[in-house]
Homo-oligomer: 345 residues x 2
């Protein structure tokens, strides 16, 4: 299916020659490879199934956006080459992110993640819970090595925030009275907080001034909101082969996101009855129901609405970077902000 919207890219950066996300991946290839090697080194359990499950997860893709953001933020604040500390911390953030994915997939009863079967489908919920716990401990272990109290408290706080976000989302499943504000709170806690932390940590690592920490934290937070709103929109629009997710997965899991919320408020009363009935079905809904929802969303522009909000958050993110003088690192961060609202189009 063709997405029912056309998304203009933000203007490419003209000052540094960096114009695409592929160039960014390429420019920071060595740093990201170091993170990848550190991820592999982190997984050295004496229990084979832990290693198998964790290795599967790390080989199943993932763009390593959080490590990339941490490295870019660190460079923006110091200009130095990658240090071992950056690698350790970027790896710890990715370990925490992967742990939350494992537990979230159990909670959501998810079958597909990034186009692959989820770990819970391959090894069961029990292995997913334990390997998630294991990855948390590995992250903690790496963070402790840095011996930086501010980093430790920042990461402990964000873990708590993510769990609270997941719990809030879970408690509001199938609830059609959820507000946009509830939705944003969930996204802010579940997704934006860790992305913001990745950016802030880059600044903390190099003992940057408070203004830089704050600006990068805000950049990450806006970027995280843009990222998740875009993801939520794509759930009702993207071709399943492209994003590795089935269409209407959120509907199936009972999650009420921005496009669905927009549809509920924009549609006619008789249509709302139909939509609410389908939401109430959750995982029991027949496939034609998700087709009906998607057709209504096309009619009312619900996906475009969510994407527009995503783009506005991306623009706010980029605005925060004006504190820093132009550089390839700043351009790279701008391109990442562009990328998260223009994936798979």
């Amino acid at each position: 299916m063709t997405p029912p919207f056309d998304l203009p890219r933000l203007a490419p950066s003209t000052t540094t020659g960096l114009a695409s996300i592929d160039q960014v991946w390429d420019l920071y290839r060595d740093e990201l490879r170091a993170v990848e090697e550190q991820l592999v080194r982190s997984i050295d359990s004496s229990v084979p199934v832990i290693n198998h499950t964790a290795s599967y997860l790390f080989q199943s893709g993932g763009k390593r956006i959080r490590p990339l953001l941490l490295i870019l933020s660190a460079r923006l604040c110091s200009g130095h080459d990658s240090s071992e500390q950056e690698t350790l911390l970027a790896c710890a953030v990715e370990l925490i992110h992967t742990a939350t994915l494992l537990h979230d997939d159990v909670l959501d009863e998810a079958a597909i993640r990034r186009g692959h079967d989820t770990a819970r489908l391959l090894w069961g919920n029990k292995a997913s819970i334990l390997v998630g716990d294991y990855l948390y401990t590995r992250a903690i272990d790496q963070v402790i090595q840095l011996g930086n109290r501010e980093i430790e408290t920042t990461l402990a706080a964000v873990c708590q925030k993510m769990i609270e976000g997941e719990m809030l989302q879970f408690s509001l499943h199938h609830n059609v009275n959820i507000t946009e504000n509830d939705c944003l709170t969930i996204i802010d806690n579940k997704t934006a907080s860790l992305i913001a932390t990745a950016c802030t940590l880059g600044a903390i690592l190099h003992d940057a001034p408070a203004s830089q920490k704050t600006a990068l934290g805000r950049f990450g937070r806006y970027l995280g909101l843009a990222f998740q709103l875009s993801d939520d929109a794509l759930d009702y629009a993207a071709h399943p082969d492209k994003l590795g997710k089935t269409i209407g997965k959120d509907l199936y899991e009972g999650k009420i996101t921005f496009p669905l919320l927009h549809l509920l408020s924009a549609c006619q009363p008789d249509e709302r009855i139909v939509v609410e009935r389908i939401i109430g079905h959750g995982g029991e809904a027949p496939p034609q129901d998700s087709g009906a929802i998607i057709r209504l969303m096309e009619q009312y522009g619900s996906v475009s609405y969510a994407l527009d909000r995503a783009r506005r958050y991306a623009a706010l993110a980029i605005e925060e970077l004006t504190l820093f003088p132009p550089s390839s690192h700043r351009s790279a961060l701008e391109i990442v902000a562009d990328y998260v609202v223009s994936r798979d189009h």
Copy 2:
């Protein structure tokens, strides 16, 4: 049902006047109350269901053995009155312990814990996973406040060990070829490691000499082995009202523990076929099957065998304390070691 064995108590300490576990609870009542208050203070989530679930857990009993051991070990090494640091650390250890219980109950599909419905039965597996995660983050938060690298690394290592133990146990469910050594490795990782850590942390907190840290770590490890072996024995012997667990719960969950392992090796070949068939049934086994197992265990003395091992580990634990001069704290630790192998008789 009456337990098919009679367990002599270890000789009471004669040097300090302390003779029973109740006197120990009484002597350290203020310290344990401070831990209890800290546990309540730790749970301050903005998400109500997290607070409800956690409060239920802390009000459902639990002897706070780990906090008690930490406080006793700390006193043994310093002789000082309780410090705020002891309270924080004892609370952190109990938070970690409670988090593992929550995740373990999901993994074991457990219905009863300490005589109460498990959290997973009341709020579901999903809340149990998330509240477990939440308690971990609260523990981390408190540990960070202490700013002691040795404490941080010790706790990170023990968390990893416990998870590996649970995973190992899970991977050996229903496996009748498990050895006593496998069983001990699981107990060592899952249970003894955190109890050993509670004791070691008391010593670390007061910067005790390495010999004292080692002795207290060994004391805790032996005590943990004694504790779990005793618990595994009681699973096939205790009255369900007394220990808050149903008889044969481990059998139901597919866990092969010392009494069952003893029975498998001691019984006749035709009986072994019956036992193996029942183990294979796991949760599907009808109630009369667990009755058949318990009768065979009485015949072959399998419960006594496990309890005897437990008592030997308790004796080894007490032996480690001879490094320290006699004191009420040392006597209290001895009484705890006695208590864990003589509960509910």
